[in-house]
Subunit: 502 residues, 2 copies
Amino acid sequence: MLSPSSYKVLEGRFARLTVLRDAAAVLQWDMATMMPEGGSEARGEQLATLKVMSHEILTDPALADDLGRAESETGLDAWQQANLREMRRAWLHAASVPGDLVEALSKAVSRCEVQWRRARAENDFAGLRPALEEVLNLVRQQATIKAERLGLSIYDALLDEYEPGLRTPAIDRIFDDYAAFLPGFLKKVVERQAKNPPLAPLTGPFPAADQHKLALRLMTALGFDFDHGRLDTSHHPFCGGVPDDVRITTRWNESDVTQGMMGVVHETGHALYERGLPRRGHYQPVGQARGMAIHESQSLLVEMQVCRSPEFIRFLAPLLGETFGASPAWEGEDLTRRLSRVKPGLIRVDADEVTYPAHVILRYRLERALIGGSLVLSDLPGAWNDGMRSLLGIVPPDDSDGCLQDIHWPGGAWGYFPCYTLGAMMAAQLYAAAARAIPDLPKLIERGDFAPLFAWLRRHVHEKGSALSAEQIIAEATGRPLDPEIFKNHLARRYLGEVLAA
Amino acid sequence: MLSPSSYKVLEGRFARLTVLRDAAAVLQWDMATMMPEGGSEARGEQLATLKVMSHEILTDPALADDLGRAESETGLDAWQQANLREMRRAWLHAASVPGDLVEALSKAVSRCEVQWRRARAENDFAGLRPALEEVLNLVRQQATIKAERLGLSIYDALLDEYEPGLRTPAIDRIFDDYAAFLPGFLKKVVERQAKNPPLAPLTGPFPAADQHKLALRLMTALGFDFDHGRLDTSHHPFCGGVPDDVRITTRWNESDVTQGMMGVVHETGHALYERGLPRRGHYQPVGQARGMAIHESQSLLVEMQVCRSPEFIRFLAPLLGETFGASPAWEGEDLTRRLSRVKPGLIRVDADEVTYPAHVILRYRLERALIGGSLVLSDLPGAWNDGMRSLLGIVPPDDSDGCLQDIHWPGGAWGYFPCYTLGAMMAAQLYAAAARAIPDLPKLIERGDFAPLFAWLRRHVHEKGSALSAEQIIAEATGRPLDPEIFKNHLARRYLGEVLAA
């Protein structure tokens, strides 16, 4: 069958867009890992130009014409139809917002991020407020325009950017349920863990070079292909690069070997997802990572479901011994207990998997209220502290460890936070389904044989690319829609040793 | 004065072109230093797309219209006029050749480079010939079209790409003179050096990490700013990146510390030129490096004029002792003699500064004959060997060490070779002028104080960007046109300890 012409033309346009995005991804990786500070201005020009040129390609009126024509073409197969739908989606998000508004937000974000770094260091929320107000107003304007074009509520239009199809009613249901579940559950876990003997001290220092070597062994065991990727260090760990050349980073703490290691396996989960995306659609929207919730499900599946499990720790402990010498910290249940400690804390990025959702729920509720106008920025610190008290029973001593801790809001990433916790829940559900499908999965993991697990994930998640929504991926892979009970069951099993009533 | 509008529009177009070229430069650096092999296909797509998009910008008919209008605008200052002239030049080279010919050559080069790697390893010139014939034919076609547009001979049109303004008659005069000078001079140098006592052996191994540390010290002393650049390793040393973030590379030979070190100071010369380009024209053609002969003059000035001089070696020897321990190889005249050994050899990249021009003259004569059609490819190996015999008195045992040794011809870089030797001559002339202008320059160098020399080079060479031709830069900086007698005088002084009659 000959491919219809407007569709073919669109494939060419989107291939170019993807290649420009790939080039920018490598430049961003370099900026975080290799670039000397004096290169930042020139790099800024390069990234801005690639962004502007991509925006020009996407908002070219000829592209909109091609979309219209291609949508009335017959003979497209299901994959091509999905690709066309993703093209339309990308176009809607890009072309619905006027260029001057895009530029105004981009500049406001640059200003606000600089302000935020200072404000966080100086605990100066009042000083940040004007710049943050500007970002919030511009984000709201953009979302209002998109909401109308997409037929969504304003906040749902924001969510849709990060995980297409994600909607407020579903999140409310899941988050309200978790917020109700958490206090009682948390109390039991904390009481139970308080009865444990103290942990053996970590017998560091753990030289960064040795941690690096161990990380390479773990990555190789998990299936990371070093002919198609690298591990480097950066201030904030991330997964970047392109599917055929995935660049992950971490940072090493020489007095606690577990931090860098867990960072590495988390990013390895992201990397394996990128590597597993369908080759067929490599340079097309349909072949790209679905959304941030699915992406996070793949990193959390590796970190939380696999690498903090007792079976993985039985695989890991001898490697730690080989690398750093014998230590009571690698013996018996010690390491398992270390990697599953639960303690309410002020900082999201340091939170365990039980309390992490509370941090997300707080941000979700606050950003919805701020976008909707029922909360004003001057009341944010108070609302933050009230939320922390009610969700986790603790209150930050200052805004630096409170509402100033994350870059997301100054950076314009409103509507992103829910992806973290939905990803954690998807990870639990996918892992449970994989464990049903793969005989003896815990034993395989204990032996360091991860191939069957990742083969299952590739087939059921990675290779779907963006052909399905996140909801569809989960439903098809696990036989049911996202079900937060499975996550809660995972927590009950891991932290209380019990199975909740279904 | 308000800037005229068509000129301003052109500035915007060329700024975008420069930024795309900068992005490609970083991606190329990464490809040579960091990229895992499996990333090459994706990287190829990125570089090809940036190239195609740049070509589209440059050959957009609207740009040609702007050029025509801007050239009749009044009120442009000299700098802007020079910029406009360089824009026209870039346009002529890009837009005069049809897109399908550009693409055909690009593909032929890719094929031929692969063939060349195999052919060189297997000493199989006959096997390479068809692919090389294809490249030669396409290069000749391109040059023929450009020659007509530029009003130049075919070979001059090729030269003009690498060093604008470079023409055959001037090169002939210089190269014929050197070819006549060389045999007698070389004989005297070889006889003189034969009387020296043998060199003390190098007391290696010299660990790469220590060589790296020493290289950083030398680069810092020479004025390399690590806030705006890096040193890494790659298979072939090069200078890449962008003016505000210059990335140089080298490779280390653990049994001979001088190789990597001389590579580093050579690339540092290139890097300091890039860093010294005028900020004002950063993203405009007029602010960019002039051509390859001038570029090579800056690397060779540092490597040959400065860093192989007895005064530099007096600065260097104690650093070698500190880094690698005491050795007779760092004492007395030993290192100076080691760094100025002259010996006719088969391989261009290993040649000393006396015999290097012979390698270049040979290639220049052969490529002109091949482009002009007076030599056919099947006769190249024989012509090569005849040329080596007549210029250096040696004959390669096989084509791998003969006409197959360089990537330039398979890579489509015809007309490039003369830049190496013209650069060496420019370096000698610039250094002589700097030494006249800066009191006690040798003493400053011996003390490791290179600031006055580089300040002079910045003012007289770097900051000119492309506002002047290479010829003008040399004439204005040194008070006379390029004069090969100065280079010969430098050689006579260094290798025979005598001053030739002017």
